[in-house]
């Protein structure tokens, strides 16, 4: 080996050592500032919670050490964090419908590959949360995206009612107690950063029952002291829809020697949605839905640790009423196609993390959805089927008491079966992303 090779090898070695250095990761500004804890105390890797962080969250952002009330906050503490991901990304669609002659729609279309790329930013999340007093916690999370702003979460929670950690009441707009949090996914690309099972709507269906969407309602929840046993029940319904849905999640954990904590659970989302509306001048009156019909999503999941590896496994079965599945008003049953039924499907994903240390994590995910029953015979059997996978890593080069910064690289791919707009072949898309995910 020549001197040059040795130098190059040494340089690479130094780079690798720096890359995976086992120095501790510090951050999550909003709470780290208050409690003086490193971000790695609550996060396996930011923003993914570990069991200590989940317990802290379930306790109403309280450690229970007699230092939770705002009176113990330092006067210069201000519980605000913002998060944004400036990035370069490339999106491609292998079978986009494109005019044969650019600018001439009448010349017909062909399917071709279209790729776009450029520099971009994610939406900007602003989080402020903590305790108003002992056992009263809150979170407000506005976000700004492409110039428009909205409220992602805004809730108040009464914690430890009747001096019991088994009784907590949350009111407002909040993230459902999802089996695996959509808000805390380690994947960020357009294709890879979504759990499709949470948002799936079958072909021809008018019902959008997103498990992954933050929703308005009231939640009752509780947990054991070490958070190994958890439950939550939520009544959901945003003004002025006048329809109410219910969501429940139960989780149990246990320790396996030399492997770590194992968590498994079951969840269900049951509700109804209108199939048509009262109208005024022909236009639907918001909230004046009629002909409600039912739907449900239910399944089981597990989070399995094996040393530095962990595997999130998720299964979902969904079914919608025949009127929802065919987008037909319930007062027009004769409009249903012959052989129409309520669509049903199964889906799931497995997501694996290799957490070398809190500063470096490798991520892989595979997700699928399979239609088991289409809403009517006119829909191809495989339409709606979906396969997607993603690989990436996050490296946290700088983290301190005030900020967290992750370098993110990710590639993801999605195959929508039979969804190509002209040929009916599989529609394939992909995302490539690299950027800095930071919060302050």
């Amino acid at each position: 080996m020549g001197t040059g090779s040795i130098k190059r090898a040494s340089a690479w070695l130094l780079l690798i050592v720096a890359f995976v250095s086992s120095r501790p990761a510090f951050a999550i500004p909003a709470f780290a500032r208050k409690y003086g804890l490193p971000c790695s105390a609550c996060h396996a890797t930011w923003p993914l919670l570990n069991n200590f962080g989940q317990t802290f969250k379930d306790n109403g952002y309280q450690l229970g050490n007699g230092r939770d009330a705002p009176i113990y906050q330092q006067p210069d503490y201000w519980p605000i964090t913002f998060r944004v991901l400036p990035q370069w990304h490339r999106e491609s669609n292998d079978r986009a419908a494109v005019d044969k002659i650019a600018g001439n729609a009448s010349a017909g279309q062909v399917e071709t590959s279209v790729a776009t790329s450029g520099f971009d930013t994610s939406s900007i999340d602003i989080l402020t949360g903590g305790t108003l007093a002992n056992n009263i916690s809150f979170l407000v999370q506005p976000f700004i995206n492409n110039g428009s702003s909205s409220i992602s979460q805004a809730w108040l929670r009464l914690d430890n009612l009747a001096r019991s950690r088994w009784l907590n009441l949350k009111l407002g707009k909040f993230e459902l107690d999802e089996p695996i949090s959509q808000e805390r996914t380690l994947l960020s690309s357009n294709t890879g950063g979504t759990y499709y099972n949470y948002f799936f709507t079958p072909p021809g269906d008018s019902n959008f029952a997103g498990l992954g969407a933050n929703q308005l309602g009231v939640e009752v929840s509780g947990h054991s002291e070490n958070d190994y046993t958890r439950y939550s029940v939520a009544l959901l319904g945003s003004f002025p829809t006048q329809t109410y849905n219910a969501y429940a999640n139960v989780t149990q954990s246990f320790e396996l020697p030399k492997l770590g904590l194992q968590r498994f659970g079951a969840y269900g989302y049951l509700g109804e949605a209108p199939t048509y509306f009262q109208t005024s001048g022909g236009a639907p009156i918001p909230g004046a839905g009629l002909g409600n019909r039912s739907f449900y999503r239910a399944g089981a999941y597990g989070i399995w640790y094996a040393g530095k590896f962990d595997f999130d496994t998720f299964f979902l079965h969904g079914q919608d009423n025949v009127f929802l599945g065919n987008s037909i008003p319930a007062n027009q049953p004769s409009a249903l196609p012959l052989g129409a039924v309520g669509p049903a499907w199964n889906g799931g994903f497995i997501e694996a993390h290799y957490t070398y240390n809190p500063r470096f994590v490798v991520i892989g995910k595979y997700e699928l959805i399979r239609m088991s029953r289409q809403a009517n015979p006119g829909i191809r059997n495989n339409l709606g089927n979906l396969d997607t996978w993603a690989v990436g890593y996050r490296w946290y080069p700088i983290m301190n008491t005030r900020a967290g910064l992750a370098w993110v690289q990710e590639y993801s791919r999605i195959i929508n079966a039979g969804a190509a707009p002209l040929s009916g072949r599989d529609d394939i898309g992909s995302s490539l992303l690299m950027g800095f995910d930071f919060d302050f």
């Binding site: 510090f26 409690y35 003086g36 230092r67 020697p257």
Partner: protein
């Protein structure tokens, strides 16, 4: 060549011998759990280093902002023990402190960590002080069965509270505001406040009456709180525990007037 081989063997033997000698402090034993310091180091860096510091001396980055200050592990002086004043703690004492946290301090309960992880942390914390190599902890104090509380027991406890000058630090009503409170420092010279006995939440080192009995018997090493094991008989300590148990309600009543 043979000479070199022999030297290598001797060196290897010494390394093995030394590693054997130090192995006690590299482990912890809590029930059937055996903690491993190597594993504990990674956990310490993840969870503890920010307060207790990379050297375990209590000078982590957050330390300047914390009151009371984080424990200095290099001194091997621990508040919450089952062993007599001045003794090293048992491994189970450190494990219990990690599990329970320390009330009215920055130290939270780490119960959400795996039991094995907590045992590993104990093993690593012990590596910060040579005392764990050189000494063995004294046997734990004995806690006799608690007699039932009664007005007489509470009255006797109140008299002991006065005669032992508890009020000097904890105040007449036990609110932690006695005349000496503002002047107290721990053994590192940092100001320290007496425990507010009216908070009603828990004692410094545990939630039960037994926890109070233990604290009174062992004292809280590193703080001005002494051991009363030699000054009081077990029955008297129980009387004191029964009296302290009445303070939260008494304070509440006084506040409502």
């Amino acid at each position: 060549m043979r000479l070199v081989a022999n030297k290598t063997n001797i060196a290897m033997g010494l390394i093995i011998l030394l590693s054997g000698l130090t192995s006690y402090a590299q482990e912890s034993h809590i029930g059937n759990l055996v903690g491993n310091a190597k594993h504990g180091k990674a956990l310490y860096q993840r969870y503890c280093i920010f307060c207790h510091g990379p050297e375990g001396d209590g000078n982590g980055q957050s330390a300047p902002y914390l009151d009371p200050k984080p424990r200095d592990f290099t001194k091997a002086t621990f508040k919450c023990r089952s062993t007599p004043s001045g003794s090293l703690p048992l491994d189970s004492d450190l494990y219990d402190t990690i599990t329970r946290g320390v009330h009215a301090s920055g130290m939270p309960s780490w119960r959400p960590l795996l039991r094995q992880e907590r045992a590993d942390l104990v093993a690593y914390i012990k590596t910060f002080s040579p005392r764990f190599h050189e000494e063995k902890p004294d046997p734990p104090i004995q806690i006799p069965p608690e007699p039932s509380t009664s007005p007489e027991s509470v009255k006797r406890g109140g008299q002991i509270f006065q005669s032992m000058n508890c009020a000097l630090c904890h105040g007449k009503e036990g609110r932690g505001n006695g005349p000496s409170a503002a002047t107290l420092t721990d053994t590192r010279g940092y100001p320290i406040r007496p425990f507010d006995l009216t908070s009603g939440t828990s004692s410094k080192c545990g939630n039960s009456d037994e926890g109070f009995f233990r604290d009174l018997s062992t004292g809280l090493d590193g703080t001005p709180m002494p051991s009363f094991a030699s000054a009081l008989k077990p029955d008297q300590i129980w009387d004191l525990v029964h009296y302290i148990a009445t303070l939260p309600a008494a304070a509440k009543l006084a506040d409502s007037r």
